[in-house]
Symmetry: C3
Subunit: 145 residues, 3 copies
Amino acid sequence: MKIWKTEPHWLIRIDKGEEIITSLEKFAKDESIKAGSIRGIGGVGPVTLAFYDIKKMDYKTKIFKGEYELLSLSGNVSILNQKPHIHLHAILGDEKFQTFGGHVVKMTVALTAEIIAIPDTYQMDRIINKELGLNLWGGCKICEV
Amino acid sequence: MKIWKTEPHWLIRIDKGEEIITSLEKFAKDESIKAGSIRGIGGVGPVTLAFYDIKKMDYKTKIFKGEYELLSLSGNVSILNQKPHIHLHAILGDEKFQTFGGHVVKMTVALTAEIIAIPDTYQMDRIINKELGLNLWGGCKICEV
Amino acid sequence: MKIWKTEPHWLIRIDKGEEIITSLEKFAKDESIKAGSIRGIGGVGPVTLAFYDIKKMDYKTKIFKGEYELLSLSGNVSILNQKPHIHLHAILGDEKFQTFGGHVVKMTVALTAEIIAIPDTYQMDRIINKELGLNLWGGCKICEV
């Protein structure tokens, strides 16, 4: 992973064999980013995607082996349990140009990932919503005390 | 809906049962936003999508019942007939990780929607293009008078 | 193509019959943009998409005739061989709301394209990675000399 702090974007290249969620969590921790946007394109695989089943209040996951075009990676940085949390959804494309996608659990870079991040001057804390079983955006607990 | 005006993003959480287009139109009206970008991820449904048929010069619509991962929501704010207009395209994912998408007519939140907006210091008016039957970006009529 | 330089976005409308990669290369050259983000939505076709086959170290391409909703266009501007290089991935939707996508080789506008660009104060040079056969983000060669 290599980071260029330009203005207004931070440009991040994640390299072959590196895992994107782990890499971006490290990036957010190292740079003390507590809110912000992330998006990107690239070539990735294998990838573990998830779908949230509201009835079961749990994620169903699937591992996609092979290599794919990363057609869209979109999401945000927030804070969950005092640590940076990377929430990303992805759409992948295969050699027949078919697409599929989901919530990103794990995504290893096959070729490269070109990530564009913009940090916010804020701390977005996630708070558990017990009805849904999900940690939702809850504002800044520290700021609002 | 809850809005956090951070810098440079405005972070917007749209809640279960709320409709995204209506919510964002209210947001743009309340905050006097007349141009800007919108994107987001979440869990949504039911959703009404549209495809513009250029030959018929009309939209074909379809209602998708059930619940979906909102894999990509992307678009912009502009002004149409003196009112904020929210133009969004979406890609949804189902429990089999299959994807589909279109122009967003109506999208109800099933879990949460995490929206990232950046307002512009401009008023982007839409003007009818009679050849296409669509209201296209036309610049700022007030500014240029 | 018409460009509005608002703050912080540059709003770009690409018109019926215009090709998006060529248009944005001209835009980047004219405005001396050497890094930055690009995204957009619209109605497009015909479109030539590509998938990179790492084993063959070459792109497989396919031409999609007809007209599609441009559901997601996402990527960046960089410098390759001293010239602006536009790297975009796209997801398209058809009249049945089915989606497909890939690396954008050529994309002609059918209705309109509403592009949102943010230039960076940087020059991101691409450098060949011989192992992959691809030109990857390599930082600014001029800046770092």
